[in-house]
Protein backbone atom coordinates (compact mmCIF):
# COMPACT_ATOMS: atom_id res chain seq x y z
CA UNK A 1 0.00 0.00 0.00
CA UNK A 2 1.35 3.42 -0.89
CA UNK A 3 1.67 5.52 2.21
CA UNK A 4 1.01 8.69 0.19
CA UNK A 5 -2.41 7.39 -0.80
CA UNK A 6 -3.05 6.22 2.72
CA UNK A 7 -2.24 9.75 3.94
CA UNK A 8 -4.65 11.07 1.36
CA UNK A 9 -7.41 8.64 2.35
CA UNK A 10 -7.17 9.68 5.99
CA UNK A 11 -6.76 13.30 4.89
CA UNK A 12 -10.19 13.37 3.27
CA UNK A 13 -12.03 13.26 6.55
CA UNK A 14 -15.26 15.26 6.48
CA UNK A 15 -15.01 19.00 7.12
CA UNK A 16 -17.50 18.78 9.97
CA UNK A 17 -15.29 16.34 11.90
CA UNK A 18 -12.24 18.52 11.31
CA UNK A 19 -14.09 21.56 12.62
CA UNK A 20 -15.33 19.56 15.59
CA UNK A 21 -11.80 18.58 16.51
CA UNK A 22 -10.27 21.94 15.64
CA UNK A 23 -10.69 24.02 18.72
CA UNK A 24 -7.98 22.59 20.91
CA UNK A 25 -5.38 23.37 18.23
CA UNK A 26 -5.80 27.01 19.06
CA UNK A 27 -4.15 26.57 22.42
CA UNK A 28 -7.07 25.84 24.71
CA UNK A 29 -5.39 22.63 25.71
CA UNK A 30 -7.59 22.04 28.71
CA UNK A 31 -10.75 21.99 26.68
CA UNK A 32 -12.47 18.68 26.88
CA UNK A 33 -14.04 17.30 23.72
CA UNK A 34 -17.45 17.97 25.22
CA UNK A 35 -16.79 21.67 24.99
CA UNK A 36 -15.78 21.61 21.37
CA UNK A 37 -19.22 21.76 19.89
CA UNK A 38 -20.16 25.03 18.29
CA UNK A 39 -22.81 25.53 15.74
CA UNK A 40 -21.18 27.84 13.26
CA UNK A 41 -23.48 27.17 10.35
CA UNK A 42 -26.84 28.12 11.74
CA UNK A 43 -27.60 30.58 9.01
CA UNK A 44 -30.91 29.82 7.47
CA UNK A 45 -31.06 30.32 3.75
CA UNK A 46 -34.52 31.75 3.45
CA UNK A 47 -34.90 31.12 -0.24
CA UNK A 48 -33.94 27.48 -0.01
CA UNK A 49 -36.28 26.90 2.90
CA UNK A 50 -39.11 28.76 1.23
CA UNK A 51 -38.65 26.76 -1.95
CA UNK A 52 -38.66 23.54 0.02
CA UNK A 53 -41.81 24.58 1.88
CA UNK A 54 -43.53 25.39 -1.39
CA UNK A 55 -42.76 21.89 -2.57
CA UNK A 56 -44.22 20.56 0.65
CA UNK A 57 -47.54 22.32 0.18
CA UNK A 58 -48.80 19.61 -2.14
CA UNK A 59 -48.43 16.91 0.49
CA UNK A 60 -51.48 15.82 2.40
CA UNK A 61 -51.46 16.00 6.17
CA UNK A 62 -52.35 12.33 6.32
CA UNK A 63 -49.34 11.27 4.31
CA UNK A 64 -47.05 13.21 6.64
CA UNK A 65 -48.70 11.84 9.77
CA UNK A 66 -48.49 8.38 8.27
CA UNK A 67 -44.75 8.52 7.57
CA UNK A 68 -44.15 9.47 11.20
CA UNK A 69 -46.12 6.51 12.54
CA UNK A 70 -44.60 4.15 9.97
CA UNK A 71 -41.10 5.20 10.97
CA UNK A 72 -41.94 4.81 14.66
CA UNK A 73 -42.98 1.21 14.09
CA UNK A 74 -39.96 0.44 11.90
CA UNK A 75 -37.64 1.82 14.55
CA UNK A 76 -39.36 -0.09 17.33
CA UNK A 77 -38.94 -3.31 15.35
CA UNK A 78 -35.33 -2.62 14.34
CA UNK A 79 -34.32 -1.74 17.88
CA UNK A 80 -36.09 -4.91 19.13
CA UNK A 81 -37.91 -2.94 21.77
CA UNK A 82 -40.97 -5.11 22.36
CA UNK A 83 -39.42 -8.54 22.00
CA UNK A 84 -36.77 -7.61 24.57
CA UNK A 85 -39.01 -5.76 27.06
CA UNK A 86 -37.02 -2.56 26.82
CA UNK A 87 -38.04 0.16 29.28
CA UNK A 88 -35.33 2.66 28.41
CA UNK A 89 -37.39 3.68 25.41
CA UNK A 90 -39.71 6.62 24.81
CA UNK A 91 -42.23 6.84 22.00
CA UNK A 92 -43.56 10.34 21.39
CA UNK A 93 -47.07 11.42 20.41
CA UNK A 94 -47.23 12.36 16.76
CA UNK A 95 -48.85 15.75 16.17
CA UNK A 96 -51.66 15.28 13.64
CA UNK A 97 -51.65 18.83 12.37
CA UNK A 98 -47.95 19.29 11.61
CA UNK A 99 -46.95 19.04 7.98
CA UNK A 100 -43.31 20.02 8.15
CA UNK A 101 -40.44 20.79 10.47
CA UNK A 102 -39.09 18.57 13.21
CA UNK A 103 -41.06 15.67 14.71
CA UNK A 104 -39.80 13.54 17.60
CA UNK A 105 -40.40 9.85 16.97
CA UNK A 106 -38.70 7.92 19.74
CA UNK A 107 -35.53 7.66 21.78
CA UNK A 108 -33.52 5.14 23.74
CA UNK A 109 -31.10 5.64 26.60
CA UNK A 110 -28.09 3.35 26.22
CA UNK A 111 -26.45 4.35 29.47
CA UNK A 112 -24.04 6.92 28.03
CA UNK A 113 -25.91 8.27 25.01
CA UNK A 114 -29.53 9.10 24.36
CA UNK A 115 -30.24 8.15 20.76
CA UNK A 116 -33.05 10.37 19.57
CA UNK A 117 -34.92 9.50 16.37
CA UNK A 118 -36.59 12.33 14.50
CA UNK A 119 -38.20 13.15 11.19
CA UNK A 120 -37.40 16.40 9.43
CA UNK A 121 -39.17 17.81 6.41
CA UNK A 122 -39.09 19.17 3.82
CA UNK A 123 -35.81 17.74 2.60
CA UNK A 124 -35.34 17.87 -1.17
CA UNK A 125 -34.49 14.53 -2.74
CA UNK A 126 -31.28 16.03 -4.18
CA UNK A 127 -30.17 17.02 -0.67
CA UNK A 128 -31.05 13.58 0.72
CA UNK A 129 -29.12 11.89 -2.07
CA UNK A 130 -26.09 14.08 -1.43
CA UNK A 131 -25.43 12.59 2.03
CA UNK A 132 -22.68 12.29 3.21
CA UNK A 133 -20.64 14.08 0.51
CA UNK A 134 -22.50 17.38 0.31
CA UNK A 135 -25.22 17.13 2.94
CA UNK A 136 -24.71 16.78 6.67
CA UNK A 137 -26.98 16.82 9.69
CA UNK A 138 -26.48 18.00 13.23
CA UNK A 139 -28.44 18.76 16.38
CA UNK A 140 -28.16 21.43 19.04
CA UNK A 141 -29.88 22.55 22.22
CA UNK A 142 -31.33 25.99 21.60
CA UNK A 143 -29.90 28.67 23.88
CA UNK A 144 -26.70 26.73 24.53
CA UNK A 145 -23.56 25.90 22.60
CA UNK A 146 -24.20 22.20 23.07
CA UNK A 147 -24.67 20.14 19.96
CA UNK A 148 -23.49 17.18 17.96
CA UNK A 149 -24.00 15.18 14.82
CA UNK A 150 -26.93 13.31 13.40
CA UNK A 151 -27.13 10.77 10.61
CA UNK A 152 -29.84 9.20 8.46
CA UNK A 153 -31.29 6.24 10.32
CA UNK A 154 -30.48 2.96 8.58
CA UNK A 155 -31.37 -0.56 9.74
CA UNK A 156 -29.03 -1.80 12.48
CA UNK A 157 -27.87 -4.87 10.59
CA UNK A 158 -27.32 -3.08 7.27
CA UNK A 159 -23.74 -2.79 6.05
CA UNK A 160 -23.20 -0.45 3.11
CA UNK A 161 -20.33 1.32 1.42
CA UNK A 162 -19.64 3.74 -1.42
CA UNK A 163 -22.64 4.49 -3.62
CA UNK A 164 -24.70 2.00 -1.64
CA UNK A 165 -25.01 4.65 1.07
CA UNK A 166 -26.95 6.94 -1.22
CA UNK A 167 -29.28 4.11 -2.20
CA UNK A 168 -29.74 3.02 1.42
CA UNK A 169 -30.50 6.56 2.62
CA UNK A 170 -33.09 7.06 -0.11
CA UNK A 171 -34.58 3.64 0.48
CA UNK A 172 -34.67 3.42 4.26
CA UNK A 173 -34.34 6.92 5.72
CA UNK A 174 -36.03 9.12 3.14
CA UNK A 175 -39.66 9.32 2.06
CA UNK A 176 -39.96 10.91 -1.36
CA UNK A 177 -43.68 11.54 -1.21
CA UNK A 178 -43.53 13.63 1.95
CA UNK A 179 -39.90 14.77 1.55
CA UNK A 180 -39.19 13.47 5.02
CA UNK A 181 -35.80 12.32 6.31
CA UNK A 182 -35.50 10.13 9.42
CA UNK A 183 -32.42 10.87 11.49
CA UNK A 184 -30.67 9.48 14.54
CA UNK A 185 -29.23 12.15 16.86
CA UNK A 186 -26.52 10.98 19.27
CA UNK A 187 -26.85 13.00 22.46
CA UNK A 188 -24.36 12.39 25.25
CA UNK A 189 -26.21 12.18 28.57
CA UNK A 190 -23.57 14.45 30.09
CA UNK A 191 -24.48 17.06 27.48
CA UNK A 192 -28.11 16.79 28.48
CA UNK A 193 -27.19 17.34 32.12
CA UNK A 194 -25.08 20.36 31.16
CA UNK A 195 -27.94 21.79 29.11
CA UNK A 196 -30.41 21.19 31.95
CA UNK A 197 -28.14 23.04 34.35
CA UNK A 198 -27.57 25.85 31.87
CA UNK A 199 -31.24 26.37 30.99
CA UNK A 200 -32.67 25.51 34.41
CA UNK A 201 -35.22 23.08 32.99
CA UNK A 202 -35.55 19.34 32.36
CA UNK A 203 -37.28 20.00 29.07
CA UNK A 204 -34.65 20.82 26.45
CA UNK A 205 -35.37 22.69 23.19
CA UNK A 206 -33.91 20.40 20.51
CA UNK A 207 -33.01 21.83 17.11
CA UNK A 208 -31.90 19.85 14.06
CA UNK A 209 -29.83 21.37 11.27
CA UNK A 210 -29.24 20.30 7.69
CA UNK A 211 -26.26 21.73 5.83
CA UNK A 212 -26.05 21.35 2.08
CA UNK A 213 -22.75 22.25 0.49
CA UNK A 214 -20.64 24.87 2.18
CA UNK A 215 -23.19 27.34 3.46
CA UNK A 216 -26.82 26.39 3.04
CA UNK A 217 -28.13 25.47 6.46
CA UNK A 218 -31.76 24.82 7.35
CA UNK A 219 -32.86 24.61 10.96
CA UNK A 220 -35.80 22.51 12.14
CA UNK A 221 -37.54 22.79 15.50
CA UNK A 222 -37.30 23.33 18.36
CA UNK A 223 -39.14 20.45 19.97
CA UNK A 224 -39.13 19.64 23.64
CA UNK A 225 -36.87 16.74 24.66
CA UNK A 226 -36.54 15.11 28.08
CA UNK A 227 -34.15 12.42 29.21
CA UNK A 228 -35.37 8.88 28.68
CA UNK A 229 -35.24 6.69 31.75
CA UNK A 230 -32.29 4.35 32.03
CA UNK A 231 -32.77 0.62 32.42
CA UNK A 232 -29.94 -1.43 33.84
CA UNK A 233 -29.19 -4.64 35.65
CA UNK A 234 -26.13 -5.42 37.71
CA UNK A 235 -24.64 -8.90 37.79
CA UNK A 236 -22.42 -9.44 40.81
CA UNK A 237 -19.67 -11.98 40.15
CA UNK A 238 -18.29 -11.83 43.67
CA UNK A 239 -14.56 -12.26 43.34
CA UNK A 240 -14.49 -14.36 40.18
CA UNK A 241 -10.95 -14.74 38.90
CA UNK A 242 -10.09 -15.67 35.34
CA UNK A 243 -6.68 -17.18 34.72
CA UNK A 244 -5.24 -16.72 31.26
CA UNK A 245 -2.76 -19.50 30.63
CA UNK A 246 -1.28 -17.89 27.54
CA UNK A 247 -0.58 -14.56 29.21
CA UNK A 248 0.02 -16.20 32.60
CA UNK A 249 -2.06 -13.58 34.35
CA UNK A 250 -5.11 -13.46 36.62
CA UNK A 251 -7.86 -10.89 36.33
CA UNK A 252 -10.70 -10.41 38.79
CA UNK A 253 -14.08 -9.80 37.19
CA UNK A 254 -16.22 -8.16 39.84
CA UNK A 255 -19.43 -7.62 37.90
CA UNK A 256 -21.29 -6.46 34.83
CA UNK A 257 -23.56 -3.41 34.53
CA UNK A 258 -25.85 -4.26 31.64
CA UNK A 259 -28.38 -2.13 29.76
CA UNK A 260 -30.28 -3.26 26.66
CA UNK A 261 -27.78 -1.36 24.50
CA UNK A 262 -24.53 -1.24 26.47
CA UNK A 263 -22.37 -2.89 29.09
CA UNK A 264 -19.70 -1.97 31.61
CA UNK A 265 -17.47 -4.82 32.73
CA UNK A 266 -15.86 -4.14 36.10
CA UNK A 267 -12.45 -5.72 36.42
CA UNK A 268 -9.40 -5.37 38.59
CA UNK A 269 -5.90 -6.77 38.46
CA UNK A 270 -2.44 -6.28 39.81
CA UNK A 271 -1.25 -2.75 39.13
CA UNK A 272 -4.49 -1.68 37.40
CA UNK A 273 -4.52 1.72 39.06
CA UNK A 274 -0.96 2.50 38.04
CA UNK A 275 -1.69 1.67 34.41
CA UNK A 276 -4.41 4.31 34.34
CA UNK A 277 -2.23 7.11 35.67
CA UNK A 278 -0.30 9.62 33.59
CA UNK A 279 3.02 8.30 32.29
CA UNK A 280 2.11 4.68 32.94
CA UNK A 281 4.30 2.03 31.34
CA UNK A 282 2.51 1.19 28.08
CA UNK A 283 4.58 -1.94 27.43
CA UNK A 284 3.80 -3.29 30.85
CA UNK A 285 0.11 -2.52 30.36
CA UNK A 286 -0.20 -4.13 26.93
CA UNK A 287 -0.81 -7.74 28.11
CA UNK A 288 -3.36 -6.48 30.61
CA UNK A 289 -5.04 -4.55 27.81
CA UNK A 290 -5.30 -7.79 25.83
CA UNK A 291 -6.79 -9.48 28.85
CA UNK A 292 -9.33 -6.68 29.24
CA UNK A 293 -10.33 -7.22 25.60
CA UNK A 294 -10.67 -10.92 26.23
CA UNK A 295 -13.16 -10.30 29.05
CA UNK A 296 -15.32 -8.08 26.80
CA UNK A 297 -15.10 -10.07 23.59
CA UNK A 298 -14.89 -13.69 24.69
CA UNK A 299 -17.40 -13.61 27.53
CA UNK A 300 -20.78 -15.00 26.52
CA UNK A 301 -24.13 -13.83 27.80
CA UNK A 302 -26.51 -16.76 27.42
CA UNK A 303 -30.30 -16.36 27.21
CA UNK A 304 -33.15 -18.77 27.97
CA UNK A 305 -33.48 -19.85 24.32
CA UNK A 306 -29.82 -20.88 24.32
CA UNK A 307 -28.68 -17.95 22.18
CA UNK A 308 -25.40 -16.25 23.05
CA UNK A 309 -24.32 -12.63 22.93
CA UNK A 310 -20.89 -10.95 23.08
CA UNK A 311 -20.62 -7.33 24.14
CA UNK A 312 -17.67 -6.79 21.77
CA UNK A 313 -14.52 -4.83 22.48
CA UNK A 314 -14.60 -1.86 24.81
CA UNK A 315 -13.87 1.63 23.52
CA UNK A 316 -13.31 3.27 26.85
CA UNK A 317 -11.81 1.86 30.03
CA UNK A 318 -11.74 4.43 32.86
CA UNK A 319 -10.37 3.45 36.26
CA UNK A 320 -12.92 4.44 38.91
CA UNK A 321 -13.42 3.47 42.52
CA UNK A 322 -10.91 0.65 42.49
CA UNK A 323 -12.04 -1.00 39.28
CA UNK A 324 -11.43 -0.66 35.57
CA UNK A 325 -14.76 -0.10 33.82
CA UNK A 326 -14.80 -1.51 30.29
CA UNK A 327 -17.60 0.22 28.39
CA UNK A 328 -19.12 -1.50 25.32
CA UNK A 329 -22.15 -0.72 23.13
CA UNK A 330 -24.26 -2.16 20.26
CA UNK A 331 -27.23 -1.38 18.00
CA UNK A 332 -30.36 -3.46 18.69
CA UNK A 333 -31.52 -4.23 22.21
CA UNK A 334 -30.96 -7.42 24.16
CA UNK A 335 -33.29 -8.68 26.87
CA UNK A 336 -31.41 -8.03 30.07
CA UNK A 337 -34.18 -9.69 32.09
CA UNK A 338 -33.70 -12.98 30.24
CA UNK A 339 -30.03 -13.55 31.00
CA UNK A 340 -29.52 -17.11 32.27
CA UNK A 341 -25.78 -17.45 32.41
CA UNK A 342 -22.59 -15.48 31.85
CA UNK A 343 -19.39 -17.38 31.11
CA UNK A 344 -15.82 -16.72 30.10
CA UNK A 345 -14.30 -19.90 28.74
CA UNK A 346 -14.84 -22.56 31.38
CA UNK A 347 -15.40 -20.00 34.11
CA UNK A 348 -19.05 -19.48 35.04
CA UNK A 349 -19.32 -15.88 36.15
CA UNK A 350 -23.03 -15.85 36.91
CA UNK A 351 -25.94 -18.25 36.63
CA UNK A 352 -29.65 -17.77 37.30
CA UNK A 353 -30.82 -19.63 40.38
Amino acid sequence: MKRELLSKAFGNIDERYIVEAYRTVTGDASSSPERIVHMNNKRIITFALAAALLLALGITAYAVWSIHTVRQQELKTDLKIEENNVNSYTEYDIPDDQEGGLVLLSSVNDGDIQRVYVNISPVAEEAAAAFPKETSFSWSIDGTEIGGFAAPELPADLSVSGDEIREAVLRYAYDKETQTMTLECYIDLNFMEQAKASLGTDSLPLLVHMTVGQNETSTFGPVSLVRTEEQSRYFDFGHAVYHDAELEKDIEIAGLELTPFSAAWKVSYEGAESFHKPDADWNAYQPWSMLEDKVCIDSKIIFSDGSEFSTGGALTCPYENGTVNLHCGWGSAINIGDVQKIVLGDLVLWEAK
Binding site: I18, E20, Y22, G162, G313
Partner: protein
Protein backbone atom coordinates in the same frame (compact mmCIF):
# COMPACT_ATOMS: atom_id res chain seq x y z
CA UNK B 1 -11.32 39.86 13.77
CA UNK B 2 -14.34 37.94 12.51
CA UNK B 3 -13.83 35.46 9.67
CA UNK B 4 -16.16 37.41 7.40
CA UNK B 5 -14.01 40.56 7.79
CA UNK B 6 -10.82 38.64 7.06
CA UNK B 7 -12.43 37.19 3.94
CA UNK B 8 -13.54 40.68 2.92
CA UNK B 9 -9.91 41.79 3.14
CA UNK B 10 -8.94 38.93 0.82
CA UNK B 11 -11.61 40.05 -1.62
CA UNK B 12 -10.23 43.60 -1.45
CA UNK B 13 -6.77 42.11 -2.17
CA UNK B 14 -5.50 43.82 0.97
CA UNK B 15 -2.28 42.39 2.39
CA UNK B 16 -3.72 43.02 5.81
CA UNK B 17 -5.74 39.85 5.13
CA UNK B 18 -2.60 37.74 5.56
CA UNK B 19 -1.67 39.56 8.77
CA UNK B 20 -5.12 39.03 10.24
CA UNK B 21 -5.18 35.41 9.09
CA UNK B 22 -1.80 34.80 10.70
CA UNK B 23 -2.86 36.60 13.85
CA UNK B 24 -5.99 34.52 14.25
CA UNK B 25 -5.08 31.13 12.78
CA UNK B 26 -1.28 31.19 12.64
CA UNK B 27 -0.83 29.02 15.77
CA UNK B 28 -3.26 26.41 14.47
CA UNK B 29 -1.69 26.36 11.01
CA UNK B 30 1.83 26.07 12.48
CA UNK B 31 0.81 23.27 14.82
CA UNK B 32 -0.89 21.35 12.01
CA UNK B 33 2.26 21.63 9.89
CA UNK B 34 4.63 20.95 12.78
CA UNK B 35 2.77 17.78 13.75
CA UNK B 36 3.75 16.37 10.35
CA UNK B 37 7.03 18.11 9.50
CA UNK B 38 9.95 17.98 11.88
CA UNK B 39 12.18 20.62 10.34
CA UNK B 40 11.45 24.18 11.51
CA UNK B 41 12.27 25.66 8.11
CA UNK B 42 9.95 23.18 6.42
CA UNK B 43 7.21 24.22 8.81
CA UNK B 44 7.71 27.92 8.11
CA UNK B 45 7.75 27.33 4.35
CA UNK B 46 4.60 25.27 4.69
CA UNK B 47 2.93 28.08 6.65
CA UNK B 48 3.92 30.64 4.01
CA UNK B 49 2.70 28.36 1.22
CA UNK B 50 -0.57 27.93 3.10
CA UNK B 51 -1.07 31.70 3.15
CA UNK B 52 -0.14 31.98 -0.54
CA UNK B 53 -2.64 29.23 -1.44
CA UNK B 54 -5.28 30.94 0.64
CA UNK B 55 -4.53 34.26 -1.09
CA UNK B 56 -4.83 32.59 -4.49
CA UNK B 57 -8.06 30.79 -3.68
CA UNK B 58 -10.02 33.60 -1.97
CA UNK B 59 -11.70 34.83 -4.13
CA UNK B 60 -13.44 32.96 -5.64
CA UNK B 61 -13.85 30.72 -2.59
CA UNK B 62 -15.73 31.96 0.49
CA UNK B 63 -14.74 29.35 3.05
CA UNK B 64 -16.87 28.77 6.08
CA UNK B 65 -15.44 27.95 8.51
CA UNK B 66 -12.14 29.60 7.62
CA UNK B 67 -10.20 27.72 10.28
CA UNK B 68 -10.83 24.28 8.81
CA UNK B 69 -10.11 25.64 5.33
CA UNK B 70 -6.62 26.91 6.15
CA UNK B 71 -5.82 23.90 8.34
CA UNK B 72 -6.75 21.59 5.46
CA UNK B 73 -4.46 23.51 3.10
CA UNK B 74 -1.67 23.36 5.68
CA UNK B 75 -2.14 19.64 6.20
CA UNK B 76 -2.17 18.84 2.49
CA UNK B 77 0.97 20.89 1.89
CA UNK B 78 2.71 19.37 4.91
CA UNK B 79 1.84 15.81 3.92
CA UNK B 80 3.05 16.41 0.35
CA UNK B 81 6.29 17.88 1.64
CA UNK B 82 6.65 15.03 4.14
CA UNK B 83 6.40 12.39 1.43
CA UNK B 84 8.76 14.36 -0.83
CA UNK B 85 11.34 14.60 1.96
CA UNK B 86 10.74 11.19 3.36
CA UNK B 87 13.90 9.54 2.07
CA UNK B 88 16.11 12.01 3.90
CA UNK B 89 14.09 13.14 6.88
CA UNK B 90 11.97 10.99 9.07
CA UNK B 91 9.54 12.51 11.48
CA UNK B 92 9.04 10.07 14.33
CA UNK B 93 5.58 11.32 15.15
CA UNK B 94 4.12 11.25 11.66
CA UNK B 95 5.82 7.94 10.86
CA UNK B 96 4.13 6.54 13.91
CA UNK B 97 0.80 7.96 12.80
CA UNK B 98 1.27 6.40 9.35
CA UNK B 99 2.19 3.07 10.92
CA UNK B 100 -0.95 3.22 12.99
CA UNK B 101 -3.00 4.08 9.89
CA UNK B 102 -1.60 1.02 8.12
CA UNK B 103 -2.46 -1.08 11.14
CA UNK B 104 -6.14 -0.12 10.68
CA UNK B 105 -6.31 -1.57 7.23
CA UNK B 106 -7.26 -5.25 6.99
CA UNK B 107 -4.67 -7.45 5.34
CA UNK B 108 -5.55 -7.91 1.70
CA UNK B 109 -6.70 -4.33 1.18
CA UNK B 110 -4.84 -2.44 -1.51
CA UNK B 111 -4.98 1.31 -1.80
CA UNK B 112 -3.05 1.84 -4.97
CA UNK B 113 -5.18 4.33 -6.87
CA UNK B 114 -6.87 7.64 -6.19
CA UNK B 115 -10.24 5.97 -6.60
CA UNK B 116 -9.46 3.35 -3.98
CA UNK B 117 -8.23 6.08 -1.65
CA UNK B 118 -11.55 7.89 -2.12
CA UNK B 119 -13.46 4.72 -1.31
CA UNK B 120 -11.40 4.27 1.83
CA UNK B 121 -12.03 7.92 2.77
CA UNK B 122 -15.77 7.37 2.43
CA UNK B 123 -15.55 4.28 4.63
CA UNK B 124 -13.57 6.20 7.27
CA UNK B 125 -16.16 8.98 7.24
CA UNK B 126 -18.95 6.47 7.71
CA UNK B 127 -17.01 4.92 10.57
CA UNK B 128 -16.53 8.35 12.16
CA UNK B 129 -20.26 9.03 11.96
CA UNK B 130 -20.85 5.99 14.19
CA UNK B 131 -18.47 7.13 16.94
CA UNK B 132 -19.38 9.18 19.92
CA UNK B 133 -17.91 12.65 20.13
CA UNK B 134 -15.05 11.78 22.47
CA UNK B 135 -13.80 8.95 20.32
CA UNK B 136 -14.25 10.89 17.09
CA UNK B 137 -12.31 13.76 18.61
CA UNK B 138 -9.42 11.45 19.45
CA UNK B 139 -9.43 9.76 16.05
CA UNK B 140 -9.50 12.99 14.04
CA UNK B 141 -6.91 14.70 16.22
CA UNK B 142 -4.56 11.73 15.89
CA UNK B 143 -5.04 10.75 12.24
CA UNK B 144 -5.89 14.07 10.61
CA UNK B 145 -4.12 16.65 12.75
CA UNK B 146 -1.38 14.11 13.63
CA UNK B 147 -1.36 15.24 17.27
CA UNK B 148 1.00 13.38 19.54
CA UNK B 149 -0.47 11.08 22.16
CA UNK B 150 0.89 13.27 24.95
CA UNK B 151 -0.83 16.32 23.42
CA UNK B 152 -4.05 14.35 23.26
CA UNK B 153 -3.68 13.24 26.85
CA UNK B 154 -3.24 16.84 27.89
CA UNK B 155 -6.15 18.03 25.77
CA UNK B 156 -8.55 15.39 27.03
CA UNK B 157 -7.44 15.39 30.65
CA UNK B 158 -6.59 11.68 30.64
CA UNK B 159 -3.42 9.66 30.82
CA UNK B 160 -1.33 8.93 27.73
CA UNK B 161 -1.84 5.29 28.49
CA UNK B 162 -5.57 5.62 28.29
CA UNK B 163 -5.26 7.45 25.00
CA UNK B 164 -3.11 4.62 23.61
CA UNK B 165 -5.73 2.10 24.62
CA UNK B 166 -8.60 4.10 23.19
CA UNK B 167 -6.77 4.68 19.90
CA UNK B 168 -5.88 1.01 19.75
CA UNK B 169 -9.52 0.07 20.20
CA UNK B 170 -10.67 2.64 17.67
CA UNK B 171 -8.26 1.18 15.12
CA UNK B 172 -9.59 -2.27 15.93
CA UNK B 173 -13.11 -1.03 15.45
CA UNK B 174 -12.24 0.61 12.12
CA UNK B 175 -10.53 -2.55 10.92
CA UNK B 176 -13.58 -4.63 11.86
CA UNK B 177 -15.84 -2.12 10.10
CA UNK B 178 -13.76 -2.29 6.93
CA UNK B 179 -13.84 -6.08 7.02
CA UNK B 180 -17.61 -6.06 7.54
CA UNK B 181 -18.03 -3.68 4.61
CA UNK B 182 -16.17 -6.12 2.41
CA UNK B 183 -13.27 -3.73 2.02
CA UNK B 184 -10.90 -6.36 0.73
CA UNK B 185 -8.97 -6.51 -2.49
Amino acid sequence: MEDSKIISLFFERSEQAIEELDSKYGPAVRKTAANILKDRLDVEECVNDTYLNTWNSIPPHVPDPLAAYVCRIARNLAVNRYHANHAEKRNGNYDLVLDEMEECIPSGVNVETEYEAQELSAAINRFLSTLDKKDRFLFVRRYWYADSVSDLAEASGGSANRIYVRLFRLREKLRNTLVKEGFLA
